[in-house]
């Protein structure tokens, strides 16, 4: 609807005011110079009413596309390659556009030509003005906090904005929460942990006026702050440590991204820089940060089917595009993959411009740059002379001994004098690495004649038949026939059941004169000790070639006694073997240093061409699209041949810009949501037309401006929120207020919230005294180890200290719910989860009430407390309440529970307290 309106507006304005009489513009502007010409000459056939050849000039995306032609209409910078220019400048009547009349005036043509030469810039104001009256696209306002009738309950600006919404409805903030509730609340919201008994005591007994301020500062400097807020961020991006899909391969080297996020929050890295680094961390020597681009599920199942591969590429990049746009700007750009966005000012062309930004990124690992790696490279360089010396040694030894060149690990030929035979036998006694021999293919080549070129007769289509000693299991039960199928297959190859005395026999369809055999090993388990034989006259076998005439391959780790070399003295053999061992060792050292620390944060390369896919169909590539930003926001200066890093850096800058109206609003809203359960905008990753409207729009803008003014410091924003009366008020219900605002979105109370599964697990461990607060590093296991990549993971039932770390350090297997706590709506890494669902189910009750984990921790807690307060049931109960509920029991509760604990034991009380609503909710 909006789009049609926009086009109509342009049409009316310009159709009535032809500009052809004017001289050509020296710096043509799309809006004032180019569009009027297009409207005058083209729009009747290529516009809103007709789109001949699927081409229209009034939509920027289409203007730059191919339409039905194979040529792009406009190649920015190159008019001669631009189909549109070819057609309007043609001298042939049949070619020239428009088809009727004399065509464009020479001045008009000059304007178009200059505009294309200058890069065919399309000032996005055209779309801006007409399409984006939506609130979130408007520049950030910095409103003045409202004047209140009754300002007494307001502590800071946040309260002023909140009260301004409450007052007209005759509502007010609730009274301040009691100190027990407040300290539990601030710990859980900010750190995801409970305060200790001592921390509660200190705060509750501190009567000084700045007690709370000091608590806020302590909280903000806690190392657990980063863990708590990183979890929210990881939810948004759907961080996981496996690829997803049927193989769901684990990614053991992506966790440094998780650590990066935690450290960024703890260090209060300015949020704009946090965004820049996650998109182009390699530009800031923060490689781990670009794990952000790798977090989506991606199908790694390899296939020779090009259609499938194209789909996998498009889907994989779609995840990157969706993550970047939704997480940083609250935009559902993923909706524009197949067509222009139906609701928001996002074109399909925008989508592919962003895809082009990431056209130099693939799923995979790269080395982490940095001081460590610089040191490693220097060290590696120091090894180079030694490698050269040993390599020269080897050449000298080869020359001295007269041995032939070593084999190749993937493909090489054995030549011999021509023989006539219908059978060939291979005897294999050893491989380079001592494992069972493997081979892809063996080819036997005839001697070429004048009439016939050399052919491979060891092919099943040529009637050859292969037999062998027993083959290993696997390979779909196939054996030697794989050697003569004429194809190298990734997953199907010959593998012997034995390590030595392996034989392969190839029976040819008839006798052939042959003089060459091509051997295609698989790079590993390569036969290095073998004989090639043909039948001899006495019905035995005669060797026509063997491995002893070749210099041993560098990778041959065989025992010196087993290595056989033809015409070589023992002394020379020792020298060869020792030289190889030294060279191997130093090369391995070199390779490891150069390899560096590999992180799964994106493989980077020259950007591939990006095509606009018609209807999002990977099999219908349209015009080539260069890198750029969203047309509704701003333009970024990028040439089509810009490098990968230039592209991503420019995108990071555009998103993290102060003038981007979305970025600061979106993060401010996310933070607000994690305080009050619902964001000011209740669709935190959708600020578009289909998303929610802000409940406190002015407040959102004020806070977002405050964030930017304070150098994007999130901790500064937290201070403002934590010190507000809105945060510090009680959470009890008030029927009269409930009748007006049941959701508490106007914040007449602090809305109670169900805790996340991760927090529940951490709290149980904290209460039992077993929480291991070790930070960072490799994740701990939630599942039994498995070697079968297809089998689903079996959850571990019990843990020890390594598994009693905070849950954020547990291995995150995509699509696999973690036992017990996963059922509390923990996201499974398949969809971005900017806001978790909060469900209540019997399965949760069963998990928390009956699981071995919870009951074992209840026992640990009971043991710990009983040893502190032996024979004092009352004190034991008080301590259990403080640990689990951050408060002391009431007299009534104590009376009820003392006989129970004396009867059944403290661990059973633990079981009950871990299941209370009061434990599971923040009040």
């Amino acid at each position: 609807m909006l789009r049609i309106l926009q086009i109509t507006c342009i049409f009316v304005v310009f159709y009535g005011t032809p500009t052809s009489a004017q001289s050509p513009a020296a710096f043509p502007n799309y809006n004032t110079d180019v569009l009027p010409i297009l409207v005058k000459h083209c729009i009747l056939c290529h516009g809103p009413s007709k789109q001949e050849s699927n081409y229209r000039v009034d939509r920027i995306a289409n203007l730059l596309s191919t339409g039905s032609s194979e040529l792009p209409a406009i190649v920015p910078g190159d008019p001669l390659k631009s189909h549109l220019w070819q057609r309007i400048s043609s001298n042939e009547d049949a070619e020239r556009m428009p088809p009727k009349g004399q065509g464009l005036s020479s001045d008009e043509k000059a304007t178009i030509r200059t505009w294309i030469e200058a890069g065919a810039r399309t000032p996005t104001a055209v779309i801006n003005n007409a399409k984006t009256d939506h609130w979130s696209f408007q520049a950030l306002q910095n409103p003045t906090p409202p004047i209140l009738k009754n300002p007494e309950s307001a502590i800071n600006e946040v309260d002023a904005f909140v009260l301004a919404k409450l007052e007209p409805r005759r509502l007010s903030l609730s009274a301040p929460a009691d100190k027990y509730t407040l300290i539990r609340r601030i710990y859980l919201i900010m750190l995801g942990l409970q305060p200790t008994e001592q921390e509660i005591k200190t705060f509750v007994n501190d009567e000084s006026p700045d007690a709370y301020h000091r608590l806020v500062e302590d909280i903000l400097s806690s190392p657990h702050y980063g863990e708590r807020w990183a979890q929210h961020w990881l939810d948004c991006v759907r961080y996981a440590e496996s690829t997803g899909y049927e193989i769901n391969k684990s990614i053991p080297n992506i966790y440094p991204y998780r650590d990066y996020v935690i450290q960024a929050f703890n260090a209060d890295l300015p949020y704009d820089q946090f965004i820049r680094e996650q998109i182009a961390g390699d530009a800031y020597r923060k490689d781990a940060a670009t794990g952000f681009l790798m977090v989506g599920p991606h199908d790694t199942n390899p296939s020779p089917d090009p259609r499938l591969t194209a789909m996998q590429f498009q889907d994989g990049h779609d995840e990157i595009i969706k993550t970047v746009s939704a997480v940083t700007m609250g935009l559902t750009l993923g909706c524009a993959r197949c067509h222009d966005h139906k609701f928001d000012p996002l074109t399909q062309h925008d989508y592919y411009r962003i895809q082009s930004i990431f056209a130099g990124v693939s799923y995979g690992s790269r080395v982490e740059q940095g001081d460590d790696y610089d040191r490693m490279k220097t060290e590696a360089d120091r090894l180079k002379p030694e490698i050269e010396r040993l390599t020269e040694n080897a050449a000298t030894l080869q020359e001295q001994t007269g041995l032939q060149q070593a084999i190749d690990l993937r493909e090489y030929d054995e030549h011999f004098s021509a023989v006539e035979t219908n059978r060939i036998r291979f005897l294999i006694n050893r491989t380079n690495d001592g494992s069972n021999p493997e081979l892809d293919d063996v080819e036997i080549w005839t001697v070429a004649t004048d009439n016939e070129s050399s052919i491979n007769v060891a092919h099943r289509d040529y009637g050859a038949v292969a037999t062998s000693s027993p083959t290993a299991k696997g390979n779909q039960g196939k054996g030697p026939e794989l050697l003569i199928d004429g194809s190298r297959q990734l997953l199907l190859y010959f593998k012997a059941a034995d390590k030595e005395n392996v034989w392969i026999e190839i029976q040819l369809n008839q006798s052939h004169l042959i003089d060459r055999i091509t051997i295609k090993p698989r790079g590993r388990a390569v036969p290095t000790d073998y004989r090639i034989q043909i039948p001899s006259a006495d019905e035995g076998w005669k060797t026509i070639k063997d491995s002893r005439h070749r210099y041993p391959h560098l990778t041959d780790t065989g025992d010196i006694k087993k290595i056989q070399l033809l015409g070589v003295t023992d002394k020379q053999k020792t020298a060869i073997v020792q030289n190889s061992a030294s060279l191997r060792a130093v090369k391995q050292q070199y390779d490891e240093l150069i390899r560096g620390r590999q992180l799964y944060v994106g493989r980077l390369h020259t950007p591939r061409n990006t095509h606009l896919m018609e209807g999002g169909d990977p099999e219908k590539p349209g015009a080539v699209v260069g890198p750029g930003f969203l047309s509704a926001l701003s333009d970024i200066q990028l040439d089509d041949d810009s490098t990968d890093i230039q592209r991503r850096k420019a995108l990071g800058d555009a998103i993290a810009s102060k003038s981007n109206p979305l970025t600061a609003r979106v993060i401010t809203n996310r933070i607000w949501q994690h305080y009050f359960g619902t964001g000011i905008v209740d669709t935190p990753s959708d600020f578009g037309l289909n998303g929610g409207r802000p409940s406190h729009g002015q407040l959102l803008d004020w806070l977002a401006s405050y964030l930017i003014e304070h150098n994007w410091s999130l901790k500064q924003l937290h201070r403002k929120l934590l010190l507000s009366a809105t945060f510090r008020q009680a959470s009890h219900t008030k029927p009269e207020a409930f009748s007006i605002d049941a959701n508490s979105r106007l914040l007449w109370r602090f809305p109670p919230q169900r805790l996340e599964g991760e927090v529940l697990r951490d709290m149980v461990l904290q209460a039992s005294g077993k929480l291991n607060t070790k930070q960072f590093g490799e994740p701990f296991n939630f599942f039994e180890e498995t070697t079968n990549q297809f089998a689903k993971r079996v959850p571990l039932k019990t843990f020890d200290e390594t598994g009693w770390r905070r849950m954020i350090y547990g291995e995150k297997v995509r699509l696999t719910q973690v036992g017990i706590f996963g059922v509390f709506d923990c996201p499974d890494g398949s969809q971005m989860t900017p806001k978790r669902s909060v469900s209540t189910s019997a399965v949760q009750a069963l998990a928390l009430f009956n699981s071995e984990f919870v009951n074992r921790q209840a026992q640990f807690m009971a043991d710990d407390i009983s040893s502190q307060f032996p024979d004092d049931t009352e004190k034991q109960i008080i301590c259990a309440f403080e640990r689990i509920l951050s408060r002391r029991p009431t007299q009534q509760e104590l009376q009820q529970l003392v006989p129970f604990v004396e009867d059944e034991g403290l661990h059973h009380l633990g079981r009950i307290l871990f299941n209370l609503n009061e434990f599971v909710f923040i009040n």
């Binding site: 789909m311 409207r693 409940s695 009430f849």
Partner: protein
């Protein structure tokens, strides 16, 4: 979004406050006035039975998912041309590259087809028991799908999207209709005795729907987790713990009496206690009389067949007790064709074993449902993620993946029996006559349950999402 729905439902439940609440809601957010989805349900009782959009033909669904891809040309769709052109290349696609590589020549069906039932439908000899039920079956022979890898194609068949994280069809149906037995889950996933299917829990995930609608996975060989009271707690103690829990929770709730999610948590412990009794009772298929065990083949000496037969009996017991949606898996994960139907190789050797496990138990299920008069209100849907090629792979005696055309079938629940709809081309390669997308199949299933697939929606990341995305047409021709 989901909490908001929960809260919204809460205040709508409070009738004296309802109007004011709505007024404010629309003040805050005109777009969101309709809430998160099209189904208005009570979050404290998510499984309460709800009325369909229109009169339903089926009340319950049993999906039989044959994981790994069953060969339609060897089982369901008779292609005489394939026999005639055996050993010749597929015309027009002589060197077709598919998932695993190059295809060889056309391969005639590995088993003989013969007419069965009164309708005379040609069915392969490999499944004689199912063949004997053919007068109750409705074949859809021209289904095609979007991916040629198992995971994504399984996702599409189970959730309408080849990507991950979209609600399974069972989750959509329990969201739309609730269920009839409040002591059992609305949606049960029964895994194959050989293991979990390739896409695992994504088949029965609730995706972005409230987690309550997620499928609960258990079978006769794999019990539900945490159903047992801990070993150091007696039944009497357990009851006492529940009582103390409730009394402490009730005290706490006094200050939050309008917050019904607290009440919902309290009642979830009562439901859990009831499930501790009802689930073991339901999974005790050994209680079934001997003739029923025999009908399904649960007494077979083939342990895998007997275990799958017991899962089929469990499926019947679940729908009998009013469980809305049962997803019954036949076949596990990729394993070179050993644990599921993914037979790229050695089809003559591997497929008969799989067919034996499937055949009698599924036929037993159909016959048992029919004799209990449950078939007319239970929709049985037998599917697989895609078909297999009419050719053998180069150098293999197995068929590669074929997403271009394959067969699924339905029975009961308002579909015509003895019916075949659509066809692939004469060789069984591409859907040709009345081709159907997976979305069409889903739309039809929802229709039989009385649900309009365009009206069963839920908001997620910018859109009111549907099971059928933006596609799907009801296949009216197969409805009786």
């Amino acid at each position: 979004m989901k909490t908001q729905l929960l809260d919204r439902r809460n205040f709508l439940g409070q009738t004296q406050f309802g109007l004011a609440g709505i007024a404010l809601s629309s003040l805050l957010d005109s777009q969101q006035a309709l809430g998160d989805g099209s189904i208005d349900y009570d979050a404290t009782k998510p499984f309460q039975s709800r009325s369909p959009h229109f009169a339903a033909r089926a009340k319950n669904v049993i999906v039989i998912f044959c994981a790994g891809a069953v060969s339609h040309v060897d089982f369901w769709e008779y292609k005489p041309e394939l026999i005639k052109y055996h050993g010749k290349p597929l015309p027009g696609n002589e060197r077709l590259i598919s998932f695993q590589g190059e295809n060889g020549t056309l391969q005639q069906p590995l088993w003989r087809f013969r007419p069965r039932g009164e309708c005379g439908k040609m069915i392969s000899d490999i499944i004689p028991h199912i063949g004997s039920c053919v007068d109750d079956l409705c074949f859809l022979h021209a289904v095609h799908t979007k991916s040629s890898t198992h995971g994504p194609a399984e996702n599409l068949m189970s959730s309408g999207f080849n990507r991950e994280g979209y609600p399974g069809i069972g989750a959509w149906v329990s969201y739309g209709l609730g269920t009839e037995n409040q002591n059992l889950p609305a949606f049960v996933a029964i895994e194959d005795p050989r293991g979990t299917p390739q896409s695992g829990t994504n088949n029965w995930t609730s995706g972005f729907l409230p987690a309550a609608f997620q499928g609960t996975a258990f079978s006769t060989t794999k019990p539900i987790q945490h159903l047992q009271t801990p070993p150091n707690v007696t039944a009497v103690e357990n009851r006492q713990h529940l009582d103390i829990l409730t009394s402490l929770n009730t005290l706490h709730q006094k200050r939050y009496h309008t917050d019904t999610n607290l009440a919902a948590r309290i009642s979830s412990y009562e439901l859990a206690a009831r499930m501790q009794l009802s689930i073991p009772e339901t999974t005790k298929v050994d209680d079934e009389p001997a003739h029923v065990q025999t009908l399904y083949g649960a007494d077979s000496p083939n342990k895998l067949k007997a275990d799958f037969a017991r899962n089929c009996i469990l499926a019947r017991r679940l729908v009998e007790k009013g469980v809305r949606f049962v997803q019954l898996f036949n076949g596990a994960y990729a394993s070179g064709g050993k644990l599921n139907w993914d037979t790229h190789n050695n089809m003559p050797g591997l497929v008969p074993g799989h067919a034996e496990i499937l055949d009698q138990p599924v036929a037993g299920l159909l016959k048992d449902l029919k004799q209990r008069d449950l078939l007319k209100e239970t929709l049985v849907f037998c599917c697989t993620e895609f078909g297999r090629m009419p050719m053998f792979q180069v150098g293999n005696d197995g068929r590669d993946h074929n997403p271009e055309g394959f067969t699924v079938w339905m029975a009961g629940g308002g579909v015509k029996g003895g019916k075949s709809y659509g066809a692939t081309d004469p060789f069984g390669y591409k859907a040709e006559q009345n081709p159907l997308t997976v979305h069409d199949v889903h739309a039809t299933m929802l229709h039989l349950l009385g649900l309009d697939h365009t009206r069963l929606t839920y908001y997620h990341n910018g859109l009111q999402r549907r099971l059928t995305d933006v596609h799907g047409h009801v296949v009216k021709e197969i409805i009786s």
